[in-house]
């Protein structure tokens, strides 16, 4: 009897303080986590974010020349490599885009497909998963077979927003080059990317990404591991990303496989990404 009484008492103490508790019996619905990254790029690397639904996103990426010439060319500011990137979010899960980079006069077409969203419940929904694919068409050589111009990129973007201030991303990557320059080089290049964001304030964050090659790249093929460090500034309508990186090109095969800068002697590139969104809803 006493036990019954205690249970009875306990069951009512909750109900006393608020009227809402009288009807609290609905299930908790997990919501997808928002804002794992500010922009669709971490620094160089693609982030797990897509352009928002019914939103056209315009990105200008800009990398100056190497900083190693010092004041002579104002730390590379006389030179530039730019990219225009337009993509559209059809809904929360699918986006398509196209871009043109001055690096090797390359055109590209790409898609991002969100396979899974990290949710607000801890259980199994611990990460967001996005499939990124791109075809690049280098047009710098005038007389070249079309097939030889093509490079394909495939990435799985796996990201987790650990908390409000920290996000991490792992990026298994395959780059397929139709044409290789040297006999020792490989058509299929595998690598694993790592990216992260640390928020400093609500609108400013520090970002970094790098790619580790898997398997050799061929003995005579010069290869430098690429990296980028950046600072995101979110002003509401725009996201500005200020960047230092050792790769000048800003499409996948260029910044993952063709980075050539080294910190030694300041042979790195300063640059920025500007993202602007236009809503069509």
């Amino acid at each position: 009897m006493r036990k019954f009484l205690i249970i009875f008492l306990l069951s009512f103490t909750f109900a006393q303080d608020d009227l809402l508790s009288f009807i609290e019996d609905e299930q908790f619905v997990p919501l997808p986590i928002q804002g794992t990254f500010k922009a669709t790029r971490i620094v160089n690397a693609q982030s797990v974010e897509l352009p928002r639904s019914k939103t056209l996103e315009f990105i200008i990426t800009h990398r100056f020349g190497t900083m190693s010439n010092g004041f002579y060319d104002l730390y590379g500011l006389d030179e530039a490599s730019a990219r225009f990137d337009l993509s559209y979010g059809f809904n929360e899960k699918i986006s398509l885009g196209a871009g043109r980079s001055s690096h090797k006069k390359t055109y590209d077409f790409f898609s991002k497909i969100k396979l899974f969203s990290q949710k607000s419940t801890p259980s199994l929904s611990f990460a967001s998963i996005v499939l990124f694919s791109k075809v690049e068409i280098a047009t710098i050589a005038k007389n070249e077979n079309f097939n030889n111009r093509l490079i394909y990129d495939f990435q799985l973007l796996l990201a987790r927003k650990v908390n409000q201030n920290l996000s991490i991303q792992i990026i298994p990557t395959l780059i397929h080059k139709n044409l290789i320059q040297r006999f020792e080089a490989k058509n299929n290049l595998f690598s694993i990317g790592l990216g992260s964001r640390i928020k400093l304030t609500k609108r400013v964050s520090l970002n970094g990404d790098t790619f580790f090659p898997l398997g050799g790249r061929g003995r005579y093929v010069g290869f430098t591991q690429s990296w980028g460090l950046g600072c995101d500034i979110d002003t509401g309508g725009h996201v500005f990303q200020l960047i230092i990186t050792n790769a000048q090109g800003t499409y996948e095969s260029a910044y993952i496989e063709e980075a050539n800068g080294t910190l030694k002697g300041g042979d790195v590139f300063f640059g920025f990404n500007i993202t602007r969104s236009f809503n069509f809803n």
């Binding site: 009897m1 009484l5 009875f8 008492l9 009512f12 109900a15 006393q16 608020d18 009227l19 809402l20 009288f22 009807i23 609905e26 919501l31 928002q34 804002g35 928002r52 639904s53 019914k54 939103t55 979010g89 607000s120 409000q164 609500k202 609108r203 979110d234 002003t235 509401g236 969104s277 809503n279 809803n281």
Partner: protein
Amino acid sequence: MIKLLILIFLSFPVFGKNLYFTRSGSVSFFSSTLIEDIKAKNDQVTCVLDAESGQASFRIPIRGFTFKNALMQEHFNENYLESEKYPNASFSGFIEGWKDTKFNAIPTPIMISGEMTIHGIKQKIKENGTIQMKNNKIYGNATFNLFVADYGVEIPKIVRENIAKSLSIDIELILKKK
């Protein structure tokens, strides 16, 4: 022992309540400036009214606000209302002069006062509204203004011209008997 039980039964107000509620009430807010108008609506508002005492409670899930512009909606949650930290706004209060309020099919003006909590900050408010009874349902309506700054929501300089300092809030509820 049985006497004690009965006493306990009686001492809890549960049995003296005459509750009306909804889980799909709507709240919308409107910000109007020279540069742009911003509107968001939330149809997931929970409200409980005790028709015996005139006490009322609201819970408004912040993630339930939908904007036309998805980016704006994300900023609203991430940068302004911080919905991961403060998932709900709430109100708890009572309708003044409830005993003398007449229920009928014509909207009757009322005054509701109590505590509003948004973004983790509690403020006492007192606002006008109307209430009516139709087909055994209670219809509630209120329109009022609140100041963004009262609830510790910072608006950065760069968008200060885009977001109004005072938002117009519109509440519409249809409560059914529990």
